[in-house]
């Protein structure tokens, strides 16, 4: 498949990397020679330096043969223009990254008609993500499938968890009344994510990921050694687009919101727009101010200013004041893997979210959903199982997934089923698979 990506920033680079793992033909266009040089020497793509809005350039790389055209530069206007031009020049599917989420929600404008097939708004994705994380407050990562019938949750194991020092196999036998599959373990102080085998041992403070049906979530608190707590009071730092969107979402769900913003005009403006939230004008780096605003009484603290370091530091302050749940927005992709080490529950990155959302549209197969976990470099895919696909011909234990992927469950007729050894996947099921990026291609083959 020929894929043209315009914009070699974080989103573009991450996408190109994911796609190059499966030998797609990728053309990466950018004006910045340095970014291209980095991309060219790190991933298997062809890099083209130049202005992608130039018709001549697009024709040179045979845009009419492109299956997918991705406009993911920083600028919304450029992306719009690019998508429109690309479509007119013959690109089959165009995807544009936008910053104004109104566009993706409105039904008044038919964007497909002017040539933009899909629009992705990273800010909106981040706000949705925050809402989900707050709803599952004891967990630091949440992905819902089919409106929560099946969930993938992430959590650290507390010292009092009954799982500690058990192997995966032992735990499964001991707690056979609770439906869950452990799909990944990231041991404390290790950057590496492992996909557990029967003999992998749970350790204290390990970050673990598991899949579970809705009904079992409550029982899992005990296994993780956590006491569930209701979130009521939330402090949000930064009235950025994401901050406001998240505040509005959470206000609607009847949470008490305190929103702190440095800029006076902005604060005033937001205060008018969000009557149910308390807007404070002040600097979030000022610990006294946070104390004055009763930070220690808060159930959750969400830092979404434009500055990653401010977000991380203020979350650490919140954690030290006893806030149970902290979420920080970071720009830098490399910080994503260290959240547990530094003690913040969840780091979210809108570029990574955008890349995953876009990646879904690039899939050839019947991928219903693609999401990625915040703290590890891995993907979760939901497939609609087709008639006669290889996966339906064997029992789960006989399907070869190597060490880089694992089945996380199946949804059959709206009911989540756990996929242990003797399970048989049938056509029409929706199967969820967790895998490392390099194994995606292999997993896809099973479903085609």
């Amino acid at each position: 498949m020929k894929i043209i990506i315009v914009g070699a920033g974080d989103v573009g680079f991450h996408l190109a990397k994911l796609l190059s793992f499966e030998s797609q033909d990728i053309y990466l266009v950018d004006m910045d020679a340095e970014k291209l040089e980095y991309a060219g020497s790190h991933i298997d793509v062809i890099t083209i330096k130049g202005d992608a809005t130039s018709v001549k350039l697009l024709k040179q790389i045979n845009i009419d043969k492109a299956d997918i055209f991705l406009a993911v530069t920083e600028s919304q206007n450029t992306n719009f223009t690019l998508a429109v031009i690309a479509k007119k020049l013959g690109a089959k599917k165009t995807i544009a990254r936008i910053s104004n989420h109104e566009f993706s929600q409105t039904t008044d404008i038919d964007f497909a008609e002017i040539g933009i097939d899909v629009m992705i708004s990273p800010g909106e994705l981040a706000a949705d993500e925050i809402r989900m994380l707050i709803n599952q407050s004891a967990f630091n990562d949440t992905i819902e499938f089919e409106n929560g019938v099946l969930n993938i949750l992430g959590s650290t194991l507390e010292y009092n968890s009954p799982l500690i020092n058990l192997t995966v196999q032992e735990a499964r036998e001991k707690f056979s009344d609770i439906d869950f599959i452990t799909i990944a373990i990231k041991p404390e102080n290790s950057g590496e994510t492992i996909i557990p085998r029967g003999n992998t041992v749970y350790g204290a403070n390990d970050q673990i990921y598991f899949s579970t049906p809705k009904e079992s979530i409550k029982k899992l608190y005990k296994l993780m050694g956590k006491t569930p707590f209701g979130v009521k009071d939330i402090m949000i730092l930064g009235a950025s687009k994401i901050g406001v969107k998240a505040a509005r979402n959470l206000c609607d769900s009847k949470f008490n919101i305190k929103l702190i913003e440095l800029d006076k005009e902005r604060a005033k403006d937001i205060a008018e727009k969000l009557p149910n939230a308390l807007i404070i004008k002040g600097d979030g780096r000022n610990v006294e101010l946070l104390e004055e605003e009763n930070i220690s009484e808060m159930d959750a603290f969400i830092a979404v200013t434009g500055n990653s370091e401010t977000n991380i530091m203020s979350c650490l302050v919140a954690k030290s004041k006893g806030v149970k749940k902290t979420i920080a927005l970071v720009e830098n992709m490399d910080y994503i893997n260290i959240s547990q080490t530094i003690g913040i529950d969840t780091l979210i990155n809108k570029k990574l979210l955008a890349a995953s959302a876009i990646f879904k549209h690039v899939r050839k197969g019947e991928v219903l959903k693609l999401a990625n976990l915040h703290n590890v470099d891995a993907e979760v895919l939901e497939f609609r199982v087709k008639e006669n696909s290889p996966v339906t011909k064997k029992l789960i234990k006989d399907v070869k997934l190597t060490k880089k992927g694992v089945f996380a469950g199946v949804i059959r007729n709206g009911v989540a089923l756990m996929t242990f050894g003797d399970f048989q996947i049938l056509a029409g099921d929706k199967a969820v698979v967790f895998c490392l990026p390099e194994a995606i291609h292999q997993v896809e083959k099973l479903f085609n």
Binding site: S23, D25, G40, I46
Partner: protein, 499 residues
């Protein structure tokens, strides 16, 4: 070696070694056909090489796949050393080149596509061994690392590192977004051109054995011949020499351009600045040297090469001028005439071509034309800058500005090249060569050309060099083929520092 993924390096060495062994086995049928006792030696060498490679690979087949810059450089350099040592086995096992030093020299000369030989009587060599000599050229020309990348798609990302470390020229062009596809296309073109040349040479009157060998030695810009007199053996058959001239020219041009030409986009070929200089340079020099041969040949210099002139005096002069200019410029090193016997001006002119080389992305050696273009433009713009100190003057090549880091890289390459040339010439005089021969042998080895001047002129060979000089020339050929940086970086202290 903490921090370096040694396992993947060793497994990769194993893979290249196995490929190399397969090529040795291809030489066996030639030996069997001519009923030579050496067939067993070559067979043994092939099996040994495959076995060594298999063991290397087998015990490291589960190596983690991460490949960084350091591993890339190590794989290429060690891979070439591995090639060299296993490549000597057919010579040693058959006893056709009994001395280890000589075998190493002949092997590196083969892989690096230099074409200098220590053999005094080539025609008495077994046919299987002659084929193996030409095969080493052919393997080394396009590069075995590139071949490994092409047929074993085990390295998605790391492949680019290897590709850049082995491919000649300041930057590697991709013909296709995927590196394995690019490598496949390169080898396919290479194979097709070699086959076409083989076919044409056969029609023009060569025996099929000579045609195969010369085709392989031409397309790799190598220069090993199956005849003692090199291509001068066919001085009475101009057609053969014209075919070889044309294919040498193609081999010295960028393969990416050849790819476009084959796809019917000729205008793209002439748009390339490097190709234009290369094309018109060859024509200009040919005309100039033809005039010299016809009108100004030094009557005191008498060549030992026999020159029948079936198509007349002028045609003969033109043919030899064209052949020798292309042969030296593309660093092939085939000989039809002794250019040191024309006159001193012509000799000096040819010697200066030792430092030019072919195009980037070709199989030729030397400094490469593109580097000269950029350097000369850069020097010229320094004058402009003296007059307009505040002007921003980009160096344009092929219509777009050359980034500063590439210019610095090219300048550093040139300085390093000349420095190595001077130091090596001094070293070779220490090993007993005379002044003229030392300069010639160094320039020829470093540029992967083959014949030189002095006692290593086109009608001589390298057999009389001392052991030290042979090892030193072998080293020069290797670093010349891998364009200095790839090998020399291993000798820098910071390469081995952990961070």
């Amino acid at each position: 070696m903490k921090g370096i993924n040694t396992k993947i390096i060793i497994s990769f060495l194993g893979l290249t070694s196995m490929l190399n062994g397969v090529f040795m086995l291809i030489a066996v049928p030639f030996s069997i056909y001519h009923n030579e006792p050496e067939q067993w030696g070559i067979l043994n060498a092939g099996i040994t090489t495959i076995l060594i490679g298999f063991l290397f690979w087998f015990f490291n087949r589960n190596a983690p796949k991460n490949l960084h810059k350091k591993e890339g450089y190590l794989i290429v350099t060690l891979g070439w050393l591995m090639l060299t040592f296993t490549g000597t086995l057919p010579y040693l096992f058959t006893g056709s080149i009994p001395s280890f030093t000589n075998a190493i020299f002949e092997t590196i000369s083969g892989y690096s596509t230099t074409g200098s030989s220590i053999l005094t009587d080539i025609e008495s060599m077994p046919k299987g061994i002659l084929f193996w000599r030409s095969a080493t050229h052919w393997i080394g020309g396009m590069g075995i690392i590139v071949l490994t990348v092409a047929i074993l798609p085990l390295l998605g990302i790391g492949g680019m590192q290897l590709f850049m470390a082995e491919a000649p020229g300041p930057s590697a062009d991709k013909m296709h977004p995927r590196i394995t596809e690019t490598a496949k296309r390169l080898w396919l073109i290479y194979f097709l051109l070699t086959f076409t040349e083989f076919f044409l040479l056969k029609i023009a009157g060569m025996t099929w054995f000579d045609a195969i060998n010369h085709a392989m030695a031409t397309m790799s810009t190598g220069g090993f011949s199956t005849k003692n007199a090199s291509v001068a053996h066919w001085n009475g058959t101009p057609m053969i020499q014209y075919i070889i001239t044309i294919f040498m020219f193609i081999a010295g041009a960028n393969f990416v351009l050849t790819y476009f030409a084959l796809k019917g986009r000729i205008q793209k070929v002439f748009k390339s600045e490097e190709f234009r200089y290369y094309f018109f340079g060859v024509i200009g020099l040919t005309v100039l040297i033809t005039i010299i041969i016809v009108n100004f040949q030094d009557p005191n210099l008498v060549t030992s090469i026999h020159h029948p002139k079936p198509w007349g005096e002028t045609e003969s002069a033109f043919r030899h001028a064209a052949f020798q200019v292309t042969s030296v410029l593309t660093t092939t090193g085939f000989v039809t005439a002794d250019f040191t016997m024309w006159n001193y001006f012509a000799t000096m002119l040819m010697f200066s071509l030792f430092f030019i080389g072919g195009s980037a992305g070709s199989t030729s050696g030397g400094i490469k034309i593109v580097r000269h273009i950029v350097m000369i433009k850069n020097s010229f713009f320094e004058f402009k800058k003296l007059l307009h100190p505040n002007a921003i003057i980009p160096i344009r090549y092929d219509g777009s500005g050359v980034p500063k880091n590439i210019i610095y890289n090219i300048l550093a390459f040139f300085v390093l090249y000349m420095l190595i040339f001077i130091i090596s010439s001094i070293t070779l005089t220490f090993f007993g060569l005379d002044f003229e021969s030392a300069l010639g042998a160094t320039a020829s080895s470093l540029g992967n050309i083959g014949p030189a001047i002095g006692t290593v002129s086109p009608v001589d060979n390298f057999a009389h060099l001392s052991i030290g000089a042979k090892w030193f020339c072998s080293f020069l050929m290797l670093i010349g083929r891998l364009e200095l940086f790839t090998v020399l970086i291993l000798f820098t202290p910071f390469f081995w520092k952990k961070n």
